[in-house]
Every structure is written in C-alpha cells, then in structure tokens.
C-alpha cells in the first residue's frame, strides 16, 4: 500500500484540498452567526455577512463627511506608507550592515555582539522611548518597524554571506578582486535572493509593529481604525478590516516572490 508520505495531490487536487478547510471555516462562522442572531437580532459579536458588507460599503465606498475622505482608502494609504518606509529603512540597513559583517570578519568581531544585544530587545518595549524621542508622528511608527525587523534581517544576511563557500572568495581573490570587488561582485549579488526571502519572513512582524504603533498613537491607519471601533464592539467593521489586512499581506508576499523569481534566474535551477 502507498505510504501516507508518498501521496502527492495533483495541482487541481491541491487547490481543492486547500479550499476545503477555508470553506468549512466560513460555513461554521455563517451558521454560528445565524444561530446567535436567531437568539438575539441585535447581536454584535458575530455579525452576519450582510451586516459586514453594509459596514464595508460604508467604510470603503462612501466619503466620510467629517474628514472628506473614503475611510478605508485613507487608512490603507497611511498604513502602507508607514509599512513601506519602515521596510525600506530596515532592508537598506540590513543590506549594508549584513554585507559588511558577512564579508569582513573584522567588522563581524566589532559589530556582531552589539547587533545581537539590539536583536534581543523586544521592540515594543522601546516604543515609549521612540514616542518620547521622535514625537507621536510618523517617524516613531516607521522607526519601530525598522528597529523591529532590521536586526533579524541583518543577522540572517550576515550569516548567509559568511556561509557562502570559501572557495568562491579565494577564487575571486586569485582573479585579482580586492575587498570591495569581492563584496559588490561576489557577495552582494548572491545575497539578494536571500534578502527578499528574509524580507518575506519579516513581513509578519512588521505588520505587528505597525498595528501596535497605530493602536497607541495615531489618527488614521488600519490598526488605528480597528482599535477605535473596538470601543463600540463594531465587529462588523473589525472583521472586514482584518480580512483586508491579510489580503494585503498575501499580495505583498506574492509580489516579493515574483520579483525574486524574475530578477534572479540563476538561483532557481539547482546544480545537476
């Protein structure tokens, strides 16, 4: 008999198999919501799909008379700007410092311990410091995201670069490459796919830091909105917002994966 570990579903089978648990989850929610509403038509904890659609229409397709903006759009734009700036800052610093630490044992000896110390500090614990130092504006939120993920990315990239086969560095040296040429022509291109991989893994924590910062001090943003409407038990707004955030996260991940595949064709085919 075929062992369980050898059963491999086809492409269509995989999509079908993957959809079943999600559909079951939706169905369970629908039934639970209907049951609660049969008991109490004013129930707010498990809003019906219709109620959520109405709330979403209200938030995402009508202009708010107070701010003069479409709320969902304004929130999304504000959050993505902060997230993008934080990720860009973290990626850039991780790229430069990771490359330096990976290529130069001397730099690793000097900065390695310091980065390790920074990496073990829980980023949310320094959020008050950031608010005091940088004010309640955008800078503190962007800094939290950057500080939260940059140390991990830096260490990941540094260890990846220093783990590249020593033969390649030796070969480059025998071909007349100086330290700079080894860094930018041998190490840098080879660490780029890993950088994107590292960024993909950091997206989850980055969202956590964004929403935490927005929840504490903000006047617009996806995290701000969720924590604002929580006061009114507005589950009909919270749930669509959460779904929207996960949709954005999935899209960002797919985009990064596509960039990696397109930009680094040499990294795909493994050696024969």
């Amino acid at each position: 008999m075929t062992r369980l570990i050898n059963l491999r579903p086809s492409r269509r089978g995989r999509i079908l198999a993957g959809a079943v648990p999600i559909l079951v989850l939706c169905l369970v929610y629908g039934v639970a919501a209907a049951l609660r509403h049969a008991d109490n038509p004013a129930d707010k904890v498990l809003p019906t799909v219709g109620a959520m659609a109405t709330a979403l229409w209200h938030m995402g397709a009508t202009i708010d008379p107070v701010t003069g903006q479409v709320t969902l759009l304004a929130d999304t734009l504000a959050s993505l700007t902060r997230l993008g700036a934080g990720l860009a800052l973290a990626t850039l610093s991780a790229l430069v410092i990771g490359l330096l630490l990976g290529v130069m044992p001397l730099a690793r000896a000097i900065f390695g311990p310091m980065i390790m110390v920074i990496a073990v500090i829980p980023p949310i614990a320094v959020l008050p410091i950031l608010f005091i130092a940088l004010g309640l504006g955008e800078a503190a939120k962007i800094a939290l995201i950057a500080i939260g993920i940059a140390p991990y990315m830096t260490r990941d990239l540094a260890s990846y670069v220093s783990g590249l086969p020593a033969e390649q560095f030796i070969k480059a040296e025998t071909l007349g490459a100086n330290s700079w040429a080894v860094a930018i022509r041998v190490a840098l291109p080879q660490m780029m796919p890993r950088l994107i991989e590292s960024l993909r893994l950091s997206m989850g924590p980055a969202w956590v830091f964004l929403i935490a910062a927005e929840a504490i001090a903000s006047d617009v943003g996806l995290g701000y909105r969720i924590f604002l409407v929580r006061r009114y038990l507005a589950m009909d707004i919270i749930l669509p917002y959460v779904a929207w955030i996960s949709l954005l996260a999935i899209a960002a991940d797919a985009l990064l994966q596509m960039i990696s595949r397109r930009a680094f064709p040499w990294a795909r085919g493994d050696a024969r």
């Binding site: 033969e167 025998t174 071909l175 007349g176 930018i184 040499w266 795909r268 085919g269 493994d270 024969r272």
Partner: protein, 253 residues
C-alpha cells in the same frame, strides 16, 4: 632547465598547535613543470596547495615565488581550480570569464564599459573557445554539467595568465569518460599557454599521465603514541623524463 626556479619551498613546516602537518618540505619547481601531488588522506596534500595558494602561511621556513618571498594572501599571480564551487553561480559563463578582466581594470565599479568592455569580451570569448564552451556562453553554471563547470573554471583562471595554476582534485567529481576529455584539455592548455601547474589528485594513474613530475606526500616517521607529532613531507619525487622533454620551453615562451 631555467637557472632560478619559479617556485621554491625552503624547509617549510606547517603546525597547528602541537599537531605537525608538514615538516621539512624542500622543493624547487621550475617554470613550465606539471607537478602532480599524490598521497593518502591527511598527508597534507591540501595544506601544501593552500600554502602555495597563499591561503595559509608556513609556521617555519620560506616560500619564494620568482626569487622573492611570497605574501600569505591569494593574488592574481596564482590561479586555482577547486573540485567544487569554483565558478560564480550568479554570473553567466561569459560573465565568469570576464570577472577577472573586470576586477583588474575597474577597481571601483568592478565593471567595464564601451571599447574596453569589447576588448575584454573578445579576450574572454577567445578563452571560452579554447576550452570549448562557446556554445554555452550565456548560460548560468547551474545549467551546465560538472565537466563543463570545470572547463569554465579553467577558462576563468587562465584568462588572468597566472604564473602558477593550482588544481585541487579538479576532476575528482567527474565521470571517467569526461575525465579523459578534461585530461586532454588540460594537457593542451598547459602546452599552448606554457603553464606551470601543481595538481593535487587522488588518482595515481592521472598523476602519472598528466605530470612531468610526481610528488608523493606521506609521513617518514610514525610515533604510535603521538601520531600527530610527525608531519608529512614529499617522500617520493619522481621526475618523468620522457614527459619533461615534451614540456613547453620556458625560455623560448
């Protein structure tokens, strides 16, 4: 033969702590020689190669290249082909050969442009042609077979015209048929370019087939209670006179 040897080792020792790897190695390698190095595992063959490569410094003794003490750092006067990881996976075949030319000519950007790039490309293409890889010019190493990757590694090293070419079990991972092709290629390149080659190998037949001189590394003495206290040295040094006559003449080259 030439008056001064190209590469000379004088009473070279390599010790790690109290472990002696190589002891009293005295060698003179003339220009144009093809030295094969054989010996059992752990007899210091690879250490010997790392010494000449400059990856490691001797703990005692001297290494002279062209009569001058050699710096313990790899440089463009010594080319190398390893058994694996010799080519850059992120560069195409032509990019791999171009690398050495670009590094020398463009220290800041590491890349060449315009007429200088065309000159370098022509040189790289000629080198690819010499190793028979022109058809794979724009492929990435991952798309090549093991033999083709080693051909590329050779082209990449030779385009810099190194004084000494070091081969570290270059054909160890290849199929027997491919290996014979590679033997022909290396012999041809050695003759045409007037190279000085030091090759470490496990295959004794290969060592005798290719070399003009075979060095066997082993321990002369053995202490059963402290086996690490005696190092290895070149116990046999066999010149193959028949081959030496056919060697490229350094003076006329």
């Amino acid at each position: 033969m030439t008056d001064a040897p190209l590469l000379e080792l004088r009473n070279v020792w390599v010790e790690y702590g109290d472990k002696v790897v190589l002891e009293r190695v005295n060698l003179a390698i003339p220009e144009g020689a093809f030295i094969s190095v054989v010996g059992p595992s752990g007899a210091g063959k690879s250490t010997f190669l790392r010494l000449i490569l400059g990856q490691e410094a001797p703990s005692r003794g001297k290494i002279l290249l062209d009569g001058a003490p050699m710096r313990a750092e790899c440089g463009p006067d010594r080319g190398v082909v390893f058994q694996r990881y010799s080519v850059f996976p992120h560069l195409t075949v032509i990019g791999n050969v171009l690398f050495g030319l670009e590094c020398a000519a463009a220290p800041i950007l590491g890349r060449l442009f315009g007429a200088r790039r065309r000159t370098a490309l022509a040189e790289a293409d000629a080198m690819l042609d010499a190793v028979g890889l022109s058809h794979a010019r724009d492929q990435y190493p991952a798309q090549l077979s093991g033999g083709m990757q080693q051909r590329l590694a050779l082209a990449q090293a030779l385009v810099k015209h190194p004084r000494v070419l070091l081969l570290d079990e270059p054909f160890g991972a290849l199929d027997p048929g491919i290996r014979v092709d590679m033997h022909d290629l290396v012999t041809r390149l050695w003759r045409e370019h007037g190279l000085t080659v030091v090759m470490v190998t496990h295959d004794i037949a290969e060592a005798f087939k290719l070399g003009t001189r075979v060095l066997a590394f082993d321990k002369r003495r053995h202490d059963p209670h402290a086996p690490h206290r005696y190092g290895a040295t070149a116990t046999y040094d066999v010149p193959l006179l028949r081959k030496a006559a056919a060697a490229p003449d350094a003076k006329s080259a």
